[in-house]
Symmetry: C2
Subunit: 705 residues, 2 copies
């Protein structure tokens, strides 16, 4: 089998390309690849293959793959799904490194198509495959276009530092033409589409090692191989290359079924959020951000803090950007005295506003020397971490001067400078972007771009803590585990073996035993039915809270009667538990998803449930969950202040909660697929220093496979 | 004084315009107005005024206003702030209807500028004033440009149905050039800026009556005259003309000080939200939406429901739009059987996906006849309320055909059709917009546009309930009111007079009285310190909950000691209250803001407080608050299900809560400025049929003015 690395190296920089099913009519889709290779200056050999022509546009055309004078590095197959596998087989037979199959009609159409796709893969043998249903790939670094995307008609495609992997061919085309219109430079673009063989992770891996690529942009519909994606994203993080992802499927939130009640609170999209957060992937929240964020991140400039200077010659647009920055959590403080004095020394215009922010130099301040000096002054001010320059309608008449002045102020500082272009002014936007000054046309993007640069800077500073594998907490032999749906006591015993402590409790079968147990446990106790078949105890009268030792015997007898009346089952076992009165209730559960397994933490109480106050992290099948992530889960809860001494309350034992989350995660990685379901509900977090207590829980253990 | 109506009519359609301080150099700002009047085809008389020239571009120039052959309808004053008032005085003396003052350096710069502005206004006398610090106005309906905006250099300005009022001149320019680039048509644009005289509300009023305007778009920094704005927005609502507002200042949320604790929960931006909601103004959440939403709303098409068909020839972009629609709460169901059959009958392409949504006709479906028939089929389907057509890269080559096919399918249905343009394709975007098909370039805007059309349709259906004035609940003589900070019992008595019932309670001064009171009130009671000086009772030991009648006497004595120790004040008065055990706690308060007065409702409990679970409505100084708005306030709470029988709970008495909110609002409108502060905290909502009870509260009454 051709290695992935080798195959992608050939796909990106082939010496020779065969185009199977090439048309001589460049207006047709099948005519495009040969025409585009020529248009964009491919220096290698092109072999059109089509029995109907002797030559296409002056290039010799061959009747079939077998007739080619030499084995092509790459084959682009333009035939329909009914014939593509034949060409693929022939290319493989010639020793071609990789084939690109554009036809649709495969797995995306249903079962029959999936079968066709399997046949295609079989035909490829040891040759690697991109597609099917792909629009191909474009290497702008070397101006090699192996694609039929109509967007390649566009002139002015700029080579640059952004590598794009898209699971949609149409979106690849949209990004190509939009980037060209904005002067944003791209390195390589590939549409992986059906991913019968090569997938998103393979190309991320390639781009991490590609010197021409400084940022990776992903358009994702679904990750087919989460572990490979995770590994590739972590490699990018280690290499310091930012990864920006736009993931669709946000509205399917909550639609997927989940294994347990807490699981149902979290939709699959939240799993992606967790995955991105844990691998340092920056999520683009709008489609426009999928170009704007990588474009800004392609420079190494990162703001060290959150104080942004806004320099404007037009009040309104400056306020607009200031407001968007404020919504995103940034500050726009006025210049300090020294900076204001330097600004005043530059300009004597009577209505310039130099001691507020936005700093308004008015139209008079638009002379290039003045503008350059003002930007430089703000960059040199210790009070600012980045500068946003507003380009107003008055800049329209002098795009070069404006762009030049901004660009000239970049050297000598590593602080970011961005531009917001207020009117429709594509020329100046293109110019700025191509000069290395991120130019935004929406105030919201201006804010999200600064936010992304800030977040990535923070990530670089923190390092990639998520990479450190955890020591396993418990080694547990599979044989020791009970099988099936555990009762409450068994479930908590299981959690305790992995390090999550329980409330004190004693299993009883009679009124007398219950009384003895209650006396041993304290003032008031909780009495519960103990059963591995009746899961909703409280619905059938199987829970009594705050029972005194004197009353617990009679209460047990009454509970036995009520449960039997409600369920028809004679209850034999009961649990007497200490009553926790000064703890805060949370829920700790497991969420299974096509993407992997996650730990879900939720605040207890109806109000928290109504607002779905939960947080989630995916488990690394090897490493489980690190403490930093567990702590972040706790702090992400909207009602976290309840645990943190809100309004003079006792701070809760967050440390112990974090340990319990890590322990619960270790249980899940240790038991793997055998742990079908697990949830602690509630887990009480006691005041600081007093730990946590699992007060109820469920666990389902599957048999060995 | 010239009437506003008359002045604006002259501003919009002057027969003659004097341009004071006109420059012969059209590259200078002062050279622009005369040049633009000519460029855009003004048919009236232009009088440049400048002693330095005899003529400007062939138009006779006058040395001063006094020399003009006749009084101009409108004067544009281009002089600086140091001289503008002189010209304004001269124009007023000639009987000019209105002057436009462009100079900056007025109220926006501070106290000295505010003085200059007052001087300017004085100089205007009975003449009306637009500005100062304005970029002027543009009437595209009649191609009259009274503006120096550099955006008027733009060719291809389209006249259309959107009227724009902007409080920023720079933003007016940005909207002008952006609209021209997108083929979006505008009627009138005006920058009101400092609003020394004519303000936003005046121009909204004009646009409501302007036949050429079908939608009003507002760029707002701050409403200076809330009552006038409110009245104008309600007139627009009554006329069925949608108003879309982009309001900056979202990030100042919570920064403003407020009169009471609950007030502090709500920032001023929420007041605008309340104002918009109560006047039917649709808020644009992104700057791009400020053009996209009005553009879509300028047709009368409104979706009757939330089911959207997406027609595409490229998978990715269709999914992108479907996902954004899903996030916005819309459905994209597959075609029903009959519709799918009709689609199949149109096309025999083997890979077209016609039984899902997005409906993918593939490239083969891009033939105009086919496309037209497919759109028509979807519009005729009873299963869809609107159709979104995706334009992919393949449409680039045939913009006219694509746009024509979409336009041709419009007649015969009132369902909306919008287009999402996936690649950078300004030609097709312009064409579609100018043909009346809203064309969006971001998937998020595609969703917000459909959402705005849906919401406006709902508003039209519901009618303007907020217009009905309420009967006053209580007529209360001012003399009867106690003055100053009321104690708890007085405050609740006040609330009760307006119709908000209290818990039963008895004021006592001794242990013996407390015991008698407790026996009269029930099993367990609440004992509280009663004081109009100590506001935070619980902080000084002044609240005891769940006290029995037997214990209450001793408890009172202990409380007296504790309070004295804590405050140094000898407590004399106490309150014995019935204890409410089965109610849900909320907070009902008043929020004072520069914009007006609002009623604030908040869910009680720490979790709800942490997520700031509150809702707000502004009070009409005359009408108070209508029941529909009060009910909406309750239903907007994130934790509303707590009141509504969540998880088998008893439903709470929402009806009584709504009555209490309306009563509280009536108190506020009735007492007006005299009610400095008022808050009921908590108000208990009992189970359905049992009403509400105010359990504690504060009120501060000011003296007569």
């Amino acid at each position: 089998m051709e290695t992935v690395t080798n195959a992608i190296a050939h796909l990106m920089r082939p010496q020779s390309v065969a185009v199977i099913g090439a048309s001589a009519d460049s207006a047709k889709t099948a005519g495009r690849p040969v025409a585009y290779l020529k248009k964009h200056g491919f220096a290698g050999t092109v072999y059109p293959v089509n029995p109907r022509y002797d030559a296409i546009d002056g290039i010799a055309c061959y009747p079939d793959v077998a007739s080619l004078p030499s084995a092509p590095d790459v084959g682009i197959v333009l035939l329909g799904a009914e014939r593509a596998h034949v060409a693929v087989g022939e290319l493989a037979a010639r020793g071609t490194h990789a084939a690109i199959v554009l036809a649709s009609g495969y797995a995306e159409t249903g079962a029959q198509g999936a079968q066709r796709q399997a046949q295609l893969l079989e035909a490829a043998g040891s040759m690697r495959l991109l597609g099917p249903n792909t629009i191909g790939l474009v290497n702008l670094t070397d101006r090699i276009t192996l694609s039929a995307s109509g967007a390649l008609e566009t002139d002015g495609l700029r080579a640059g530092g952004i590598g794009v992997v898209s699971q949609s061919g149409g979106i690849l085309g949209a990004l190509l033409s939009r980037a060209a219109a904005s002067g944003i430079g791209l390195s390589k673009l590939v549409s992986t589409s059906n991913e019968a063989d090569l997938d998103m992770a393979d190309f991320i891996d390639y781009l991490v090692d590609d010197d021409a690529t400084s940022v990776i942009a992903l358009y994702m519909e679904a990750v087919r191989h989460p572990q490979r994606f995770r590994a590739a994203a972590l490699r990018a993080a280690q290499a310091g290359k930012p990864v920006v992802a736009f993931k669709i499927g946000r509205s399917e939130s909550g639609a997927r079924s989940a294994v347990s009640h807490t699981g149902a609170l979290a939709g699959s999209d939240r799993m992606y959020d967790a995955l991105f957060r844990q691998t340092g992937v920056i999520r683009a929240n709008t489609f426009a951000d999928l170009l704007d964020l990588p474009n800004a991140l392609s420079s190494a400039r990162r703001p060290a803090g959150k104080r942004i200077a806004i320099l404007t010659s037009t009040g309104g647009a400056g306020t607009l950007v200031a407001d968007s920055l404020g919504v995103a959590g940034f500050e726009t403080p006025p210049p300090d005295d020294a900076t204001a004095a330097r600004l005043r020394a530059l300009q004597t215009g009577d209505h310039a506003v130099l001691d507020r922010n936005p700093i308004d130099v008015t139209l008079a301040g638009l002379q290039p020397d003045l503008l350059r000096a003002a930007i430089r002054t703000l960059l040199e001010s210790p009070g600012y971490d980045a500068v946003a320059v507003i380009v107003g309608s008055s800049g329209l008449a002098m795009p070069d001067l404006m762009a030049g002045a901004i660009r000239d102020s970049l050297p000598g500082t590593s602080k970011p400078v961005i531009a917001y272009v207020s009117p429709h002014a594509p020329t100046i936007t293109r110019l700025l972007n191509s000069e290395g000054v991120p130019a935004l046309t929406s105030p919201e993007s201006a804010a999200s771009v600064i936010d992304a640069m800030w977040r990535h800077g923070q990530m670089l500073q923190r390092g990639q803590v998520m990479l450190a594998p955890l020591p396993r907490v418990v080694e547990i032999g599979a044989g020791e585990l009970p099988i099936g749906s555990l009762d409450e006591a068994q479930a908590k015993a299981l959690f305790a073996r992995f390090g999550v402590p329980s409330v004190r409790e004693i299993a009883v079968t009679s009124a007398k035993e219950a009384e003895d147990a209650a006396r041993a446990l304290g003032d008031k106790v909780v009495l519960k039915l103990l059963s591995n078949t009746i899961t909703h105890k409280s619905d059938v009268g199987g829970v009594a809270v705050g029972v005194s030792a004197d009353a617990v015997g009679a209460r047990l007898n009454r509970m036995r009667d009520e449960v039997e009346t409600a369920t028809g089952v004679a209850a034999t076992d009961f649990l007497v538990q200490e009553m926790v009165t000064d703890g805060i209730e949370l829920i700790l559960g497991l969420h299974r998803d096509p993407l992997g397994t996650a730990v879900l933490l939720g605040m207890g109480g109806v109000a928290a449930e109504l607002i779905n106050d939960t947080s989630m992290r995916m488990l690394d099948p090897e490493a489980g969950l690190v403490r930093e992530d567990a702590l972040a889960m706790v702090q992400e809860l909207k009602t976290f202040p309840l645990l943190d001494g809100f309004r003079g309350r006792q701070p809760a034992d967050v440390d112990a909660l974090v340990s319990a989350i890590v322990a619960f995660a270790s249980m899940a990685t240790e038991l793997g697929e055998r742990l079908v379901e697990a949830e602690i509900n509630p887990i009480f977090v006691l005041p600081r220093g007093q730990g946590v207590r699992a007060a109820d829980g469920v666990a389902v253990i599957g048999g060995d496979a």
